[in-house]
Structures are given as C-alpha cells and as structure tokens.
C-alpha cells in the first residue's frame, strides 16, 4: 500500500523527531533529560523508598503487637519511627507525586517537554543521592532517632551526639533542593508552555492542582531548609540558634519546621486531589461539575494552609488568643476541601458511572479521607487537641489524611495511566484483591488506633505494660498492618506482571478527554508530533479526530528544525510567542548533583577542606551549565532562521530562564523572610536573648557598601534598557564595570563583617548576623560572577542587541541583591538602633 504525500511527510517528521529527541540507552541513559524518563524514574525510586518505609512500619507493628516485647530496644524503635516518617514524607510521597506530575504535565498541556529538562535531571539526581545518604544510616546503624520533625533540643549535639541527626539535616536539605527544582520547573512550564489557545480557563484541572502544589513548595520548603542549615551550624560549628543559654529558643525550630510541615500536608493532598478531579469525570463520562469552584478551592487551600502551622504547637504555651486564630483557620480549611468533595459527588451523581478499577481506589479515598478530615476538625479544637496531643489518636488521624488523601488517589492514578505507559491493562482479579486487602488492612490498623489513642497510649513508645487495656487493640492494629502490607505486595506484583501479561490496551482505553491520551502508547519521547490550538477543557471529547490529526502533523510546530523545541505561550492569553528551544541530553545534571553529594559526604565526615573543594567544583559545573545556553554552538548547533515566527526564545526578552529565575527567587525570598522571622522571633521571645547597645555591624561602611551595590545595579539596569532599545555596542565593558562595582560592594561588606568581630559561638545575636552576612555576600557574589560571564558572552557575540535575553535574567539577580541588602540594613541594623533610642 502506498502512502499519500501528506502521510509521507508525517512519517518523515516522526522519524526526524525520533532522532532529535533520542534517549540513549546503556550507561549513557544517565545523561537523559527527557521528562517522561525522569518522571518515571522518580516514581520508581519513590516506590523503592516506599518499600523501605513500609518495612520499618512492619517492624514497629510487630514490636507493638504484644505488650512488654523486646524484639527491638527503645533506641532501635526510635530510629525506626524516625526513618519511617522521614522516608515516607520526604522520599516517597512528594517525589512520587512530583514524578507523576513531571510525566503528565507536558503531555496534558500539549507541550513536548518541560521547559528546563536539565533541571529535571538535576532534581532527580539530588533526590536520589540525598535519599541514599539518608538511607545509608540504616546500614551504618546510626539512623537519626529524634522523630521525623527533629525537635530541638532533642536533636541538638548534647542529646543526639552521633551523626544520625547530621545525616538527616544534610540529606533532607539535599532532597529539598530537588523539590524546589521540580517546583520551578512545573510552575514555569504550566504558565508558559501550554498549547496555543489553552487559557487558564481551559487548562486541565490537574494542572491547577499541580500549579498550586508547586507554588506552595516554593514558599513552604525554604523555612525548613533554613531551619536545617541553622541546626546543622549549631551542631557542627557550635553556633547558637536554638539553645536557650546562648540566647536561642528551641521553639524557633518548631515554628520553622511547621511553617513547612503543615503546608506539606496540602502539598501532598492537592496533586492527589488533582488525580481524583481528573479521574471522576472520565468514569462518570461527563465534564467535572463546578470547575470554577474547584479552582476557587485550590487557591483558597494554597493560602489558608499556610495559616495553620501553630495547631501543631497548641501545647507549647502560646497565648490563647493566638491559639484561637489558628484553631479557626484550621476549621476554615475544611470548607474548600468540602467544596471539592461535593463537586466530585455531584459529578458522580449527574454522570453514568463506569465502575472500572481506578474507581475502587477513588472510593477508598473518599471514605478514608472524609474520616481523616473529620478527625482533623476535632484536632483543630484546642481543648480536644490538648487531650490527645502526642497520642496514637494523632498518629491515626495523620495516616487517615495522608494514606487516604495521597496514597489511594496515587494508586488510582497509577492504574489509570498505566495503559498510557505500557500499552497494557492490569489484571482485574489481582488488582481487586490488592484493593480490598489494602483498604481493609488500613482501616483495621488505624481506625482502632484512634481508640488506642483515646485510651491514652502515647506515640513513640517502644513497648507498654500488659495491664493498661491496650493489648487487644494493638494486636488487631498489627494484624491490620500486615494485611495492608499483603495488599500492597499484591499491587506491586500486579503492576509488575501486567507489563508482560496485561491485555493490550487500545488508544485511550478509558475514553478520557485530555491531551495525554492523544499519543500513541507507549508515548514517544517528543510527546506530540504536532501541537494543536486548544480552546476547550475536553479536547478529545469535543474533537474526536484530534489525536489522528496531531500524529499526522496537521498542527503547529511541524517543521524539521533540527532542535528540541516546544511552543512558548503567553501565561494569560495563551498566544504563541516563542519557540522554546530546549537542551538535549547532558551529563552536567548528574555531574553537578554527584559533586554536591560529595560535598555533603565530606561535611558529614568533617572533612571541611574537601567539602570546600567539592563545593567550588559544583559551582564551576553550574557555571558551565549556565554557559551552554542561547547562541552557544553546543546549545544551538544549527543556524536558526532569524525571521521565523514565533522567534526562538533567546532572541526575545521573556524566555523560560527569566521566568525560572524569578520563580526560584520567590523561594529564595521565602528563605530570607524566614531568616528575618527568626531574627525578630529570637529578639522578642527568646528568654535569654542579649544584644549589644549598638549593632556590631558599623553603619558607615555598610552604607558605602550599599552605595556600591546601588551603583552597580543602576549601571547594569541602564545598560539593559539600552539593549532593549537596540543599543548594545559597549555591553561587554558595561558588564565589566558593573562587576567591578559589585566586587567593591562585596569587599566593603566583608570588611564590615570582619570589623564587627562577630562571635557566633557565643550568642544567637551574632550567629544570626553571621548567617545574614553570608547570605548577602553569596547573592551579590553570584550577581558579580554572572555579570562577568555576560561580559565574556558579549565578546563572543552570544549576547547582543538582537539577542538581549540573558541580560534580563541577570538583571533580576542585581535587583534581588539590592532589595535583600537594604532590607537587611533596615531589619538588622536600623530597627534595633531605633528601638534602643530612649
């Protein structure tokens, strides 16, 4: 049979895309940057960590099955519950959901990849290495044992003298870099690479959830990153932040931890709810009822969940009025959650529900999560919270919320998208057994644990006496735990077997409406052959022939450009503005993550010179990474048509790097605000806070330093304005001069700090100032280095008036350095000065 000319052209385009988007195999597979591969690796790695966390849970349930058991001693039990919580929260739940989002988002929004593929790979390797560093403690026998929230003073060097807590702090910080990388990636990709025409109103509902989740990560994770850095400085270098005798306060850790910890619950819930909101319309075979209401709820949850953190601290002695604020906020959050629940029920009620396998897990989610939500409202009531604080009731509530609100939807989603990945269907028999065993076992374990808690059994005790009435309940809970484990094992077996024995699935076997089902299965690395204009939330329902049209190259971006690219669209109007030029496979992400892992290991081994050397190595690799961009021949091997429309992004002023930098600076700003919060908190609350009458940081040299910084920023900004107007003749010289001014600013700042003779091991006041100066030097130094590189790139003609994109990105660094410097001056020098004036 002969092919028509259009079919031949489509086949040639597919062949071309296969070559451009090729994912190498063998050992070169570690250089892959494709979102599908990395998303699946995250899911798989998360599953491995989940199994480890599950085994630790089995160990704990075995220990608690009978009273007065000595299967493990108190020390080992402490390690088990610490590692169980840490592994499940940091190494399984979020990475698995992020991995799913990384895999799905570009396919759903009609893009060919995420906008920062190298960042995806870097984030994955940070996660992997951070997780392995943490998990290695189980092998060495020095696992952390201070609980997954590492409360001080229990986690300080006096009460946790081994290296376990250090592994936790450094390993988790490493993993959090990964979470923030993924968040930046997802935010910018959702906002800037949707299919043309896909406005916010027409975006798949899953994307709203992921957008909110990613933004919450940007603001929620930095407080814990800061807290971990401060605690590690306290443990390793003797700084003072949380020790009362040096002017610190252990409650500062609790604030920083829960500023992360409570939003984290919703960071996990939102993507899972996104899966539910995606699946229910498919199996009800009708559009989601209340799309706008659900978006309303998502945004509301995204904010209100940051106003609840103190409900974890109701027993620490906070004024009742403040507790009332958080108590009411904790109850209010039930309203947007309830709105979603009613929207889901209404959609099921109005549709013709097809009871396929994923719906079983959705049913399990609805039952368990509603119960968890109700006990959550109970715990929001301060007097009730006081009664059950630190008992098994809280443990049961947390598992109802997290397993019901995250694990069940995740499994529903896995079963739903499994045919997309493998082209095969799971076994109906095994999968149903897996569900009922998991569902039954879970409820047997944790429903009874509510009662154990109400009977007064505290959490985190490794054994209990036989005569207090907890025996039967604990035994049944343990039996339930093992039944659940059997269900999970069956699930894993079912998924593994389906790759070989599963019935072949045709294209779009569930009759879903979103674009990921327009692909062939398993999907190609480039996702879509051609990119359509989308003006509906249900493209495959409203336009049944769309999948064929896309694969026949009848839509946009169907030319053979020789580079990896996808559309860059306006964040609001979704008009196509640029061709986003994406990097190809690279060893830089793996190399950089590996060298940072070496830095972490060197720190843990107290080899500080090695740590410094590897940190410099990591910086050099990152600079190399930034170098291979834009018009660099390794990044753009082919000559691109300058007149093509839309233009390639690095010939515009608003490429993904600009959005990515701005988004990353949001997280950076959240970390900085957390530092200011810490300063103000210690100042006003710490019982033994002491500060000199005047700031040790002398004002005149600080002001001179600030003037240099202002001059550098202004000079650079004027230059960028010139580039915008097509004047870029002396750009390299301008960059050199800017760097010189910036360097003078850094030197003046360092001089001020040295003159101050800070003694960070003696007082929390000096410790905070030390961290502040380091923060400012780091940011200004980064701007100086980036500007020096710009000077060189201008000499090589990678940057000029026709390619003005990169200077816009560096301008953001100068603006941030300037804002953080003057904010620091106001908050850390002028405010105390004004306060001390009689």
């Amino acid at each position: 049979m002969t092919m028509s000319r259009s079919e031949q052209a489509a086949a040639a385009l597919r062949q071309h895309l296969e070559e451009v988007w090729y994912n190498p195999r063998g050992w070169r597979a570690f250089s892959v940057v494709n979102h599908s591969v990395l998303g699946l690796r995250s899911l798989l790695t998360g599953t491995c960590f989940f199994i480890v966390g599950g085994l630790l849970a089995m160990l704990m349930r075995t220990q608690l099955a009978l009273p007065e058991q000595e299967l493990v001693d108190a020390q080992r039990y402490n390690q088990a519950f610490t590692m169980h919580g840490t592994v499940m929260m940091f190494l399984f739940a979020l990475p698995a959901l992020s991995g799913l989002a990384m895999y799905l988002i570009p396919k759903m929004i009609g893009a060919r990849d995420l906008l920062f593929p190298r960042l995806s790979a870097f984030g994955y390797y940070c996660y992997l290495f951070g997780g392995l560093i943490l998990l290695s403690t189980l092998v060495w026998g020095n696992a952390p044992d201070a609980g997954w929230f590492m409360y001080t003073p229990l986690s300080d060097s006096r009460f946790s003298p081994g290296t376990g807590a250090d592994f936790w702090l450094i390993g988790i910080t490493f993993v959090e870099i990964s979470a923030i990388s993924t968040a930046v990636e997802l935010v910018v990709s959702i906002l800037r690479s949707r299919a043309p025409g896909m406005t916010l109103r027409d975006m798949p509902i899953f994307c709203w959830y992921i957008l909110a989740m990613a933004l919450m990560i940007l603001f929620g994770f930095p407080p814990l990153i800061l807290g971990s850095l401060l605690l590690e400085l306290e443990r390793a270098a003797g700084f003072v932040f949380f020790a009362v005798e040096g002017g610190g306060d252990p409650l500062l850790w609790q604030h920083l931890f829960w500023l992360f910890g409570h939003p984290e619950v919703y960071i996990l819930f939102l993507p899972a709810a996104g899966i539910v909101s995606t699946l229910i319309p498919v199996f009800a075979q009708r559009p989601l009822i209340g799309y706008s209401w659900i978006v309303f709820s998502i945004i509301l949850i995204g904010f209100i969940s940051f106003g609840l953190w103190v409900h974890h601290m109701f027993t620490v002695g906070i004024p009742h009025l403040a507790q009332a604020f958080f108590s009411i906020a904790s109850m209010l959050i039930a309203i947007p959650t309830g709105i979603q629940l009613f929207a889901w029920l209404a959609t099921l009620w109005a549709g013709k529900v097809v009871w396929r396998l994923p719906m079983l897990w959705i049913f399990g989610f609805l039952v368990i999560f509603v119960c968890g939500g109700l006990t959550g409202v109970m715990l929001a009531l301060v007097p009730f919270d006081w009664q059950v604080h630190d008992t098994h009731f809280v443990v049961a509530h947390m598992h109802y919320v997290l397993v019901g609100g995250m694990l069940f939807p995740l499994i529903a989603g896995l079963y739903f998208w499994l045919p997309h990945l493998s082209g095969r269907m799971p076994s109906p028999l095994l999968s149903r057994w897996a569900f009922w065993l998991t569902f039954g076992g879970f409820n047997l374990t944790f429903l009874l644990m509510h009662l154990t808690g109400l009977l007064g059994m505290p959490r985190r005790i490794y054994t209990y006496p036989a005569d207090v009435g907890w025996d039967e309940l604990n035994l049944l809970s343990s039996i339930g735990g093992f039944v659940m484990a059997l269900g999970i094992a069956m699930l894993i077996v079912d998924i593994a077997l389906h790759f070989r024995f599963g019935r072949p699935a045709g294209r779009n076997p569930w009759n879903a409406a979103t674009l990921e089902w327009a692909q062939s299965m398993p999907p190609p690395a480039y996702n879509h052959v051609s990119l359509p204009v989308i003006t509906t939330r249900h493209p495959l329902w409203n336009h049944p022939g769309l999948a064929e049209e896309m694969s026949e190259a009848r839509h946009g971006l169907n030319d053979r450009s020789g580079i990896r690219e996808t559309y860059g669209t306006n964040a609001v109007t979704a008009e196509a503005q640029e061709r986003m030029h994406l990097p190809s496979n690279s060893w830089l992400p793996l190399g950089t993550a590996f060298v940072i892992a070496l830095t972490c290991c060197a720190l843990l081994a107290s080899l500080y010179w090695v740590a410094l050397a590897t940190a410099i190595g990591a910086l050099l690799l990152l600079l190399r990474w930034s170098w291979i961009n834009g018009a660099h021949p390794d990044y753009t091997p082919a000559a691109l048509d300058e007149t093509a429309y839309p233009p390639v992004h690095w010939r515009t002023r608003s490429g993904p790097g600009l959005w990515g930098t701005a988004t990353a600076l949001l997280a950076d700003g959240a970390l900085y605000l957390s530092l200011i919060f810490g300063w103000l908190y210690l100042w006003t609350v710490a019982p033994q806070w002491s500060a000199p009458r005047s700031s040790p940081l002398s004002l005149p040299p600080l002001l001179i330093s600030g003037v240099f910084l202002g001059a550098a920023s202004l000079w650079y900004w004027r230059g960028v304005q010139g580039l915008r107007q097509g004047r870029g003749k002396h750009w390299a010289q301008r960059c050199l001069l800017t760097s010189g001014l910036g360097l003078l600013h850094v030197l003046a700042l360092l001089y001020t700090a040295m003159q101050a003779e800070l003694r960070p091991t003696f007082s929390s006041h000096d410790s905070v100032l030390f961290v502040l100066v380091a923060y400012l030097v780091l940011h200004s130094g980064l701007a100086v280095i980036a500007t020096l590189l710009q000077a060189r790139r201008a000499q090589l003609n990678y940057v000029n008036a026709r390619q003005p994109y990169e200077p816009e990105v560096v301008l953001l660094l100068w603006k941030y350095a300037l804002a953080s410097f003057w904010t620091a001056l106001a908050a850390f020098v002028l405010l105390p000065l004004a306060w001390s004036v009689p």
């Binding site: 004024p319 009025l321 103000l680």
Partner: protein, 116 residues
C-alpha cells in the same frame, strides 16, 4: 483599572492581603505580649484587642471594596471574553472568601484576653 481586574493577579491578591493581615495579627500579638503586655492583658478588652479589631475592620473594608469592584466589572466590556469573565468571577469569590476568613479569624480578638 476596571480592565486590569481581569488580570490573574486578582486571583491571589485578596488572599495575599489575608496572609499579610494574619502575620501582623499573630506577630503583633505575640510581640506585644512578650515585650509590653497591656496592664489588663489577662482580661479583655484591652487596647491590644481594640488595635487588632481596628486592623481587622480596615483590612476587611479594603478587601470588600476589591470584591465589589470585581463584581461590578462582570458586565463591563473588559469581561467580554470567557477568560476574562472566568478570572473576574473567581477573583470576586476569592476576595469574598478572604474577607470571611478575616472576619472569622479576627472574631476572637473582640472576645478573648490577649495575653492569657
């Protein structure tokens, strides 16, 4: 001004104001109770209660005004496209929700002793 109400920034502005208000309420209360508690801090109402209530009322009025502007913008030419209508409706709802959250969370400031 009316045209800008269809900008997605209005989807977060109300809750951003709520967040700032919340930080000032909690931070202000904690700082005052630590540094300079009111003389009758274990009873209510004190000047601190009145200050917190005043802050709440002012912020609620500000957000109410924004909600009203969005509501009125529904029928203006700027709301002609479905995307603009979507944002304006949603923004109005979110301003309203922010306002309700402020009133609910701020209510105890009128009733409870501030530093107990």
């Amino acid at each position: 001004m009316m045209r800008s109400l269809s900008h997605p920034v209005h989807l977060i502005l109300g809750l951003f104001i709520w967040a700032c208000w919340f930080v000032v309420m909690y931070g202000g209360l904690s700082a005052v109770c630590s540094i300079e508690p009111p003389e009758r801090g274990l009873r209510s109402p004190t000047w601190l209660n009145y200050s917190l209530m005043a802050l709440t009322v002012v912020t609620v009025l500000l957000v109410f005004n924004l909600a009203r502007s969005c509501w009125q913008a529904r029928r203006t030419p700027s709301a002609r496209s479905p995307q603009a209508r979507f944002v304006i409706h949603l923004a109005a709802g979110l301003y309203l929700a922010s306002m309700i959250a402020m009133m609910a969370i701020g209510l105890p400031a009128a009733l409870m002793p501030p530093c107990l």
